[in-house]
């Protein structure tokens, strides 16, 4: 195989097969013969099913790469819905000229992350497009998992009520700053690494050992503020957040100060917000903190009655303001 992807490798013929065989099949542990669909047995139960596309630029960043991200993201979407992630389908769109060795590294980290999360990559597709028709590599992953019947209320927040507590599993904003720092266009580098991780083990730990879990959502694009506003809208109530309780790492804080960003709006790839019934929060916190991905968990706020469905932030200095949905991208400020 050549060092760089060519259009011929997307032809569907021999070269496509060779690419799939040499880069993906073995690493993903796919079962041969490769058919048009993966046939999954023993699924007479309620399924969660999700899909997401990954177009991150740059493909490699401190703490991960597009492949790891694609697996974690799909695993997390399933896990926060109350499902046990099981199978993943993956689709690659590759730009002609893409270095094969980079594709191998990406496939390897996908395989590694899938193994860690305990999911199997069972089916996929590969397309090669002409140079300039896509930016290096895009990945789409879809995933399915069996929904825990006790957790069917989780994704729609049906049981959330006034007084419930909100817990987060660690500092916010690291992924966005890591990716931004890895870009050539903004001239800063930082020691911040992405929080990109599969959260299903942490979540299973919580759901198996605690009661009164009323809602879960992973914090991705739009950050904490977006999820909180979505939750307020869903439950038709308000949320109050204590700014001082929300963990933010020092380098992230510093860069946000310089660039004029708000860490509440920055993307994460390994953070989850869990809403628990009042009285159960200490237990949940203990369980979360005993997990490596929840070591820095904190209780950050609670559900309050509010017809206006506002997210109110008690600022760390004793002031008060709303925490609104972000509108569009955050841009670095002038001065």
């Amino acid at each position: 195989m050549n060092d760089f992807i060519s259009l011929n490798q997307g032809s569907g013929g021999k070269l496509t097969h060779e690419l799939i065989e040499q880069v993906f099949v073995g690493r993903f542990g796919m079962v041969k013969p490769l058919t048009d669909s993966a046939i999954l047995k023993d699924t007479r139960c309620t399924l969660a099913f999700t899909t997401d596309s990954y177009v991150v630029d740059p493909l490699f960043f401190p703490g991960g790469n597009i492949g790891k991200l694609a697996v974690c993201g799909t695993v997390n979407d399933l896990a926060v819905s109350g499902a046990e992630p099981m199978y993943i389908a993956v689709s690659f769109i590759i730009e002609e000229g893409f270095p094969v060795n980079e594709l191998v590294v990406i496939a390897e980290s996908m395989a590694e992350e899938a193994l860690k999360a305990g999911v199997r990559i069972v089916t996929g597709d590969t397309k090669v497009v002409e140079k300039g028709k896509c930016d290096k590599l895009f990945i789409t992953t879809s995933g399915t998992g069996i929904l825990n019947p006790d957790l069917e209320h989780i994704s729609i927040a049906r049981q959330v009520k006034t007084g419930d507590k909100l817990i987060i599993n660690g500092p916010v904003g690291n992924h966005a700053i890591a990716v931004l720092g890895a870009r050539d266009s903004l001239s800063f580098t930082s020691s911040v690494t992405s929080d990109c991780a599969s959260l299903n083990h942490l979540i299973r730990n919580v759901t198996q050992n605690c009661n009164e879990i009323h809602f879960m959502r992973d914090l991705t694009r739009g950050g904490l503020a977006t999820v909180l506003n979505e939750l307020a809208a869903m439950i038709g109530g308000g949320i109050v957040i204590e700014e001082a309780s929300v963990p933010v790492d020092e380098p992230v804080k510093g860069l946000c100060e310089i660039l004029g960003f708000d860490p509440f709006y920055l993307a994460n790839e390994g953070k989850v917000i869990i809403v628990v019934g009042a009285g159960e929060e200490k237990r949940v916190l203990d369980v979360m903190r005993s997990d490596p991905l929840g070591k820095y968990s904190e209780i950050i706020g609670e559900i309050i009655p509010d017809k206006k469905k506002l997210v109110v932030l008690n600022t760390s200095v004793g002031g008060q303001r709303i925490l609104d949905m972000p509108s569009g991208l955050q841009f670095p400020r002038i001065c």
Partner: protein, 361 residues
């Protein structure tokens, strides 16, 4: 974080809030001139800590907000030309021109790049010698020295494809215009970063000629509350003067090297401010010996621009005569994602800040 946490200490802030409550004997209205102050005040929820008779209004110190439609239209016109790269600070991207914005032009294929300083734009010029690289110079005395340094560097290296479209402005003439416009305030929270460069002495004319107090303030919550307290005391003692609260950064004379750079490269000119019209000697244009970097001299463009939506009161907000809450368009058809007026665009604009942070909109 050092130099930040100390000024966000909750006990200190609560003490300052108590002192302010104890000091008030009447109604007070202060104008925070700088957009950075507006953003900080609302981000930290400062109005919540103030008694009802202390009112803060936002001034003209958000550089994006006061940049005229004509500047955006010119930038858009250049962005549509062949072999042109536009380099801009991020906030400018979404500002509406007469019919389009740089963000829309970027989506349509124009080469518009976000930079953090003029020197980043100069790098882009070095790497793309076949293109004209135009840096949109915007901002007050805080960013103008950076642009001046960039121009000097471009001259030194003889970089022929680097150009400036300047909307740089200086602060004092606008403050004077506001006072003459009849705004009813009891003092200014003066821009701390501007004063870092210029020194606090540039505000001396305000107490002298207009009998209004000035406190040069830092940008952390303790800075702002202390500055408000200092202004209240000035009013109570009927003793308007220029005081420096932000004394860890600001001196009387300011940064002399930066001032020299600015005056070497730029000269004052009359420029339009959104909402004010033309303010004499409030703009900065390149001096004759740096003229070759002026894109308007190199490639003149003609644009036909329209003023803002006639219901938009950005002008009055920037002059401190109205607040965003007075605007019929605010949060009805004017939103951060689709701004009609400039105050809704920048994260330091009064409308944008109100929209994002204010509890009772």
């Amino acid at each position: 974080m050092k130099y930040i946490d100390e000024f966000r200490n909750k006990n200190l802030i609560m003490n300052l809030a108590v002192l302010i409550r104890k000091s008030v004997i009447r109604n007070y209205t202060f104008m925070e001139v700088c957009g950075g102050h507006t953003a900080a005040i609302h981000r930290f929820g400062i109005p919540f800590l103030l008694p009802d008779n202390v009112r803060l209004i936002s001034g003209p110190g958000c550089p994006v907000c006061v940049t005229g439609t004509d500047f955006i239209d010119k930038a858009i016109a250049y962005s549509k030309m062949e072999k042109v790269i536009i380099c801009t600070f991020g906030d400018l991207l979404r500002v509406p021109g007469t019919v389009s914005s740089l963000e829309k032009e970027k989506a349509a294929g124009a080469d518009v790049r976000i930079v953090l300083s003029g020197l980043d734009a100069l790098d882009i010029a070095r790497m793309n010698p076949e293109n004209k690289v135009i840096f949109l110079g915007i901002g007050f005395e805080t960013t103008a020295p950076g642009t001046a340094a960039t121009i000097k560097q471009a001259e030194k290296e003889n970089i022929e494809n680097f150009f400036l479209l300047s909307a740089h402005k200086v602060m004092p003439p606008a403050m004077e215009a506001i006072i003459k416009d009849g705004v009813n305030i009891d003092g200014f929270i003066c821009p701390g970063h501007v004063a870092t460069i210029t020194g606090s002495s540039i505000f001396e004319f305000i107490p002298e000629s207009f009998y209004l107090g000035c406190v040069v303030a830092g940008f952390e919550p303790a800075d702002l509350l202390q500055s408000i307290l200092m202004l209240i005391r000035q009013v109570n003692q009927n003793d308007p003067k220029v005081e420096i609260q932000y004394n860890r950064a600001v001196t009387l004379q300011g940064n002399l090297i930066a001032q020299k750079l600015m005056s070497e490269v730029f000269e004052p000119c009359d420029v339009p401010w959104r909402g004010f019209g033309i303010i004499p000697f409030s703009g900065l244009m390149l001096r004759k010996n740096f003229e070759r970097f002026d894109i308007e001299k190199e490639v003149p463009v003609r644009i036909i621009f329209q003023e803002d939506n006639e219901l938009c009161i950005c002008g009055k907000i920037l002059r401190g005569l109205k607040t965003p809450g007075d605007c019929l368009l605010f949060a009805e058809i004017c939103f951060p994602e689709n701004p009609l007026g400039a105050c809704m665009v920048s994260i330091e604009g009064a409308c944008n800040t109100w929209y994002r942070y204010k509890l009772n909109k």
